[in-house]
Symmetry: C2
Subunit: 603 residues, 2 copies
């Protein structure tokens, strides 16, 4: 408990919840890092696909990058509409639920949940890649480093959302700044300076240059726009006026993302930088721009922290989405409850668990994770935009035609992108995502129908009447007279009911001795001796209880069990085995209620 | 449950226990099979050691066999004295406990327990070897076959001791008969017939012929006498007069054992039969004597069944020893209780588990198990005999000098044998047995001292007085009004105490609604609303309970928890998480007693 307090801080009162709102500056750090950090790997993933067709194909990275820029613009404009329309937070699940119905909403939710997990895994892996590019000796430990980073993020998040933000804001802004400086200097050198383009290695083409390969490169690059939806989910976390602040932050984010992404793609193309196993494109560009000095190292560390904050942002989104689903009874109820620090601890644990699982499964390798990535996010993008289209068509309202066109363009664009991503990545791993979506949707629906069945079963209807008072027979099974037994008798007597101790007559001699002891210690409670024809104490007790239930059709039967609680866990095997069997046998008997009266041993 | 009944039969009344006594004929099958069946592998194990010094060394098997015959004679005579002196059953543990004290008794008990497990494993492995010698295609499945046989024996034993005996008696006598016929015919052919000794393969000597090797061969052959103590443990299971019947059965057993063992050793030597990986010596001798026909197959099947019955005999001994130890508080108490079928089910399960473990660990290979075998049995032999020596010295009685000499010879002989076995086998695996003995003895003593500490802690002494009546505050934490809650209220009301429902005010709107519902459904029970400053229902409840305990220093506090019990196990994750946390938090609070009132869901 002390450790927990130290790690996650003191619990906060509800009144403090209002203060947990984020300024635009903090919100940009927390919510935008997910999208912006993608620049650390998006260009590299495009190049990794194109290189399959040889170094000449690299030139295609520029048109692909512009296609992705177009996506950024479309998404920014259409998501701003969502932000204004859903000031309470308009995640894909909510938009789809309100406008498209249950199934699309659940598909969007499942897709998003999967992508939250992937965001953590990909971002952490890429963050560690930034580190190992600078310090190659750590390369072989990247899996372990990824796990450590993940656990660190979990602990930070359990400390609460504002503190996590504060912790990361400074290095994040530093990283954005450093990347910006690199892009400006690097581009300027490229455009105006003498330029020292590296002669490109003549990589052998493995595949032919086809349209399909370009589309695959586009699909890989789409990882750049993942995370753009994060702000729209978290509008409520902004200070008042929430929507306006969120929309402004959205613009800031998109501009930063666009500038960095295009700049890096341009530089990579201009300098002919090719992907390497153990060094990222960013690291190579930074070395070219700044040389391998203090600035280079600072930029790598900054990039790493930016990526880790991106992973961190999923820890705001995932538990939030879980809690919304839990409130709608699609997830276990306990996911909906606030934890100690006003954050959704359960969701944090689950996200952390699965992200670590993926990191271990894919050995902390960004490129291995990418084929699974972005599919889910684009599915949710499409459902969001389609939901908004449907909304304008039914709700109308001021300027609805203009808004319809904006979201319509958004829906069509993201829809096409989704099809491209799904079809080019399907055999490379995206099928897993589709399978998981089906499983998750099935799970959501099972949980929902279970909760529905439960509330029907426990509902009080007009046919019910408040119950009439009933009598209660209390039995205390004993096999000796000792402090534990007397404690149970003392407890049973302190409440009402018809109390009797019952003793199974295994051995007539000890039964007689016990009856004498009972006269002294039994607190006036009647002692009943049961015959034991089958040498089974349990059977005799069960027969007796069965008989009581049959004779007294309307009574409750309470079984008070004197239980010895040992001081050490292993000692449990030496005690209460009979009580355990008794409890297991009585669990499904209606009208029988068990009460353990523990007697705590000291040693 | 139906499956259990079908497998293990109906429970028996105590009155039937007297009938469970064994006739001499049945007792010989059950108790002697352990010792007699050893002939199936003892000769082979002697040869396996001697062959290391080349084929010429095989001749040493005859003197070694005679040394073992001497052991048989000594053990028979000295164990007959134990049988008469301990008609209640004189296992090594009891004899050592009565005469030598706690530590020797526990060492003997530990040694015996280990050897019971090894008896099962070795006998099953040898039984399967008898089968695979006849049907070589099964050789590669010997591990799986061994496990099947072990499980079969466990089930048979759960059906009760007499039925297990009946099941095996006929094939056992058949096997003894068939082995007898083989020995007689084979020896006659060897002595009087023309004889067709196989020219021995000129096996290359790996080791030199040394005294140590002869002693190792003797140690390996000592496996022949394991199981000779079984009768003395089980005197009580014989019909009246128990001791006389048991002593007579002991003689029968020893004669059969001696004749078969010597005969097989003689034949093996005469025909120059050498051990093979996939065929036993017995199988080779049987082929030579009868040819590979119906008689041969019958003899192999008979040998297998004899060995399986030997394994079975450990299932009588082990649970019996466990129950004696449990009654002396050296083993968990539940080991002492009769199971459904008047047998010690717990012991049977444990023995079966460890035997299967050994079979898997040693891949069902007899030879791999042998180095661990016999050590334990000889330690217990020695302690038994030494105990008897001490007994005659202190107790004296008629003919005590004669008896002293008999057991004295027994003690010295078995002592020397123990030293030989331990020293020659120590590095081959016997060290494991010594280590296990130390661990088991430590375990016995820990359990004993724990039970002692418990009985001291719960004992009622002169300083105790029967407790004065105390009051009881009953609280029912609720978060809604439904059938499960009303059921809990109905139950609480059926007993006395000061009852109140408590509601944590998480949301003032729903609290107000609930208070109105309570007026209708609350059965007149007071509803108390607790503030919720930390957004934690659990914390509010705990604070309230803490307050109650403090204000009412002498009261009990009962927490009645309405619990929803789902129809399927996986649904548990969707319910009662809060109740679980509450229970965990209250478990170690003195004066707080929890009562679950389950509401069973149908779907």
């Amino acid at each position: 408990m002390l450790l927990k307090r130290w790690l996650v801080g003191d619990p906060l009162k509800t009144a403090q919840a209002a203060d947990e709102r984020l300024s635009k500056t903090l919100a940009l750090a927390i919510f935008s890092s997910n999208a912006i950090s993608s620049v650390a790997y998006a260009t590299e993933e495009i190049l990794l696909v194109l290189i399959l067709a040889g170094t000449a194909a690299i030139a295609w990275s520029i048109p692909v990058s512009f296609a992705i820029l177009f996506l950024v613009v479309v998404l920014t404009i259409s998501y701003r509409q969502i932000i204004y329309e859903y000031p309470e937070g308009g995640g894909a699940y909510i938009v789809a639920r309100d406008n498209l119905g249950e199934l699309p909403a659940l598909i969007a939710a499942a897709a998003l949940m999967i992508d939250y997990v992937l965001t953590v895994a990909v971002s952490v892996a890429a963050g560690i890649a930034a580190l190992t590019s600078a310090v190659p000796s750590l390369f072989e430990h990247r899996e372990a480093l990824g796990l450590v980073a993940s656990l660190f993020i979990v602990v930070m998040n359990l400390r609460g959302v504002r503190e996590s933000g504060k912790f990361f804001a400074v290095p994040t802004y530093f990283a954005i700044g450093a990347l910006g400086v690199m892009v400006v200097i690097g581009s300027a050198k490229a455009l105006f300076g003498p330029g020292t383009p590296i002669p490109p290695d003549n990589q052998v083409a493995i595949e032919e240059m086809t349209l399909f390969l370009v589309l695959r490169a586009f699909a890989a690059g789409c990882s750049a726009v993942t995370g753009m939806e994060v702000i729209s989910n978290g509008v409520k976390a902004f200070r008042r006026p929430e929507s306006k602040n969120a929309a402004t932050t959205m613009i800031h984010m998109s501009v930063i993302l666009a500038v960095l992404f295009l700049g890096i793609s341009f530089m990579a193309d201009h300098y002919g930088v090719l992907p390497k196993t153990d060094e990222t494109i960013i690291s190579q560009l930074a070395r070219l721009t700044f040389g391998t000095g203090a600035v280079y190292y600072a930029l790598q560390i900054g990039t790493m922290l930016l990526l880790i904050l991106a992973a961190n942002s999923a820890y705001a989104g995932f538990p939030h989405l879980s809690s919304i689903l839990a409130r709608d009874s699609y997830m276990p109820r306990q996911m909906a409850t606030f934890g100690d620090r006003l954050v959704f601890s359960n969701g944090i644990f689950i996200l952390g668990f699965f992200a670590c699982f993926l990191l271990i499964l894919f050995h902390g390798d960004t490129h291995a994770l990418i084929p699974l990535y972005a599919v889910g996010v684009f599915i949710s993008f499409t459902f969001s935009q389609a939901g908004m289209v449907r909304r304008w068509l039914t709700k109308k309202g001021p300027h609805w035609r203009k808004k319809l066109i904006v979201n319509g363009v958004g829906a069509v664009t993201t829809g096409i992108a989704t099809i491209i991503i799904a079809s080019t990545k399907f055999t490379h791993g995206a099928w897993i995502v589709f399978l998981l979506i089906v499983i998750l949707v099935w799970m959501f629906r099972s949980i929902h129908s279970h909760y529905k069945a439960v509330s029907e079963q426990i509902a009080l209807t007009r046919d019910h009447r408040p119950p009439l008072p009933r009598r209660n027979i209390v039995i205390i099974p004993i096999s000796g007279v000792n402090q534990a037994v007397i404690r149970a008798v003392d407890y049973a007597r302190s409440r009402g009911g018809e109390i009797r101790a019952v003793l199974v007559d295994v051995d007539s001699e000890s039964t007689a001795r016990l009856q004498i002891q009972w006269a002294q210690w039994g607190c006036g409670v009647q002692l009943m001796v049961l015959p034991c024809p089958y040498r089974s104490v349990l059977r005799s007790l069960l027969d007796h209880i069965e008989e009581l239930l049959e004779k007294n059709q309307d009574y409750w039967v309470t079984v008070v069990i004197p239980e010895i609680l040992p001081a050490r866990w292993w000692q449990n095997i030496l005690h209460n085995q009979r009580a355990l069997l008794l409890k297991a046998s009585l669990l499904f008997k209606d009208r029988v209620i068990l009460t353990d009266v523990p007697f705590h041993l000291k040693r």
